[in-house]
């Protein structure tokens, strides 16, 4: 079993997501990078993978690696910045695992860091629109939420759901966030709160949209587990892509890139454990569950409402509150997801008593552009 993982998570750290007007990219990076390295026993690091979607847009910084490394006092370690929109985190982890495989041994540091709150919301929306096709979608004013809204409408019509059914996603995520000290939204929400919130792109309301947050999360990935700690390994990963021009996809009720990524990981039907899905919008969380093969198409919202994905079940989804409650830290979001499931597998507070041994993480770029799915396991 010991050699069955692609890499082991020997150290991790996260900053509580928020609006850090008093900290920049370098401060947030150093905070989590140094804590994660310390937790892993300060091993030698072969490379630093920095996942960031906005470093030049809001941080006005290209070639950010050296600035971050120098501030954190990490000398002579090559840094590689990975930009793949709000999926940067997952793609940085994937790349670090590949590096680990080619190196054969050693450790990699993966840090997701982004600061959307350096700019006002109109600018944040503009930068979010860069996740779409710049020439043919964003040019006309489209943003990801507009396309997510079209998917939500089609899904609700195809499977005869009411908006109240979809509102359950936000309610459940807020409920989980209320118990998670690392959540951005720590307040429970009632159906009335969701229904009374403003329309963003109908049928999606403010409560369907994950809030932009500044944040940083770090992982130390190693070829061998730390002998003094619980061994948690990334067992496998799979990649998938969909058409880049949204309108050209024939079916707007499926996340094709997630379907492809899940296929590449292997059969997931019998999976039991904890799952983290990239719910930038409520509908993406719902559709991800179907795309991962955890339930039949059209059934996820019904099962969610029946409590099938709650704590104590066979498949426990977004126990940290997902992007909806933890926040959307763009390039860092995938690393937050990974740290979230590692804490759940370890049974760290507030996730004690879960006794989960397997986990799955789904990280998606934009509106079903590209996805990567990871499976993790407690290795005994």
């Amino acid at each position: 079993m010991r050699n069955s993982a692609l890499g082991y998570i020997n150290g991790f750290a996260i900053t509580p997501p928020g609006r850090y007007y008093d900290k920049g990219y370098r401060e947030l990076f150093a905070e989590v990078a140094l804590k994660a390295l310390e937790a892993a026993g300060n091993p030698d690091i072969k490379a630093i993978y920095v996942a960031s979607a906005l470093s030049e847009l809001t941080g006005e910084q290209l070639a950010i690696g050296n600035v971050l490394r120098d501030y954190a006092g990490l000398r002579n370690i090559p840094s590689i910045r990975i930009e793949n929109g709000d999926g940067s985190g997952g793609f940085a982890i994937m790349t670090a695992l590949n590096h680990l495989a080619s190196a054969g041994n050693g450790c990699m540091l993966v840090v997701g860091v982004d600061k959307p709150h350096e700019v006002i919301s109109l600018k944040q929306n503009k930068y979010a629109s860069y996740l779409l096709d710049s020439d043919y979608e964003a040019y006309f004013g489209a943003t990801p939420v507009a396309l997510a809204a079209i998917m939500a409408k089609q899904y609700m019509r195809s499977y005869e759901y009411k908006y109240e059914d979809l509102a359950t996603w936000a309610i459940k995520m807020h409920e989980r966030g209320a118990k998670n000290p690392y959540a951005y939204f720590k307040r429970a929400a009632k159906l009335k709160d969701v229904l009374d919130s403003e329309l963003v792109a109908d049928p999606l309301r403010l409560y369907d949209v994950s809030p932009f947050v500044d944040g940083a999360a770090a992982l130390v990935l190693c070829s061998k587990p730390n002998p003094n700690d619980l061994a948690i390994g990334v067992v496998n990963y799979g990649f998938g892509a969909s058409n880049s021009y949204f309108a050209s996809r024939n079916d707007y009720t499926v996340l094709s890139s997630v379907v492809e990524a899940a296929k590449a990981v292997g059969p997931l039907e019998g999976f039991n454990g904890v799952v983290s899905v990239h719910d930038t919008y409520s509908i993406f969380g719902v559709l991800a569950l179907e795309a991962l093969g955890l339930c039949k198409r059209g059934s996820a919202l019904r099962l969610l409402n029946e409590g099938y994905f709650d704590q104590g079940g066979r498949v426990m989804v977004n126990l940290d509150g997902g992007l909806k409650a933890v926040g959307n830290s763009m390039g860092a979001s995938g690393v937050y997801q990974m740290v979230g499931v590692v804490m759940q597998l370890r049974g760290d507070k507030p996730f004690n008593g879960l006794n989960a041994e397997s986990a799955m993480v789904e990280d998606m770029v934009g509106v079903d552009q590209e996805s990567v799915v990871f499976t993790l396991r407690v290795v005994k």
Partner: protein, 137 residues
């Protein structure tokens, strides 16, 4: 110097698509792509230009209320996906003060409109938009 936010050449080279919906049609299998692509799914890389029909049917729509900095004055924005002769196109819906009156399958036509401008001194950007033929009010 006035800071220019949007790029002129980035816009200029897309004029055939923005103004005339110029797609490409594969010489080998006849498949039409909008936006144009360099390679067909059949493997061919030889295309002819092909203008999409100017009328079609609405597949789905939404109204976006939280817009980007370029569209602040145009809030809210209605968007639709239209089927134009078998090719699906994404665009803004215009002349539609009451989108609730729209329905799936409504007939739409392609019209030429102003899209946005680069502050007070930059160029004005144009492009196609989709107009419900029977209106929506």
């Amino acid at each position: 110097m006035v800071d220019q936010n949007l790029s002129v050449p980035k816009y200029w080279r897309k004029i055939p698509q923005y103004y005339r919906l110029t797609a490409v049609k594969c010489r080998k299998c006849g498949r039409v792509y909008f936006p144009p692509r360099a390679a067909c799914e059949c493997g061919s890389r030889e295309f002819d230009e092909y203008e999409l029909p100017r009328r079609g049917k609405l597949i789905e729509y939404t109204v976006l209320r939280s817009v980007t900095s370029d569209f602040e004055k145009q809030r809210p924005l209605a968007f639709g996906i239209a089927d134009l002769g078998g090719v699906r196109v994404f665009g803004q819906l215009v002349d539609c003060p009451n989108p609730d009156k729209l329905s799936e399958g409504a007939e739409v036509e392609v019209v030429f409109r102003r899209v946005k401008e680069d502050s007070d001194y930059g160029i004005i950007y144009y492009g196609f938009k989709l107009r419900p033929v029977k209106g929506c009010w």
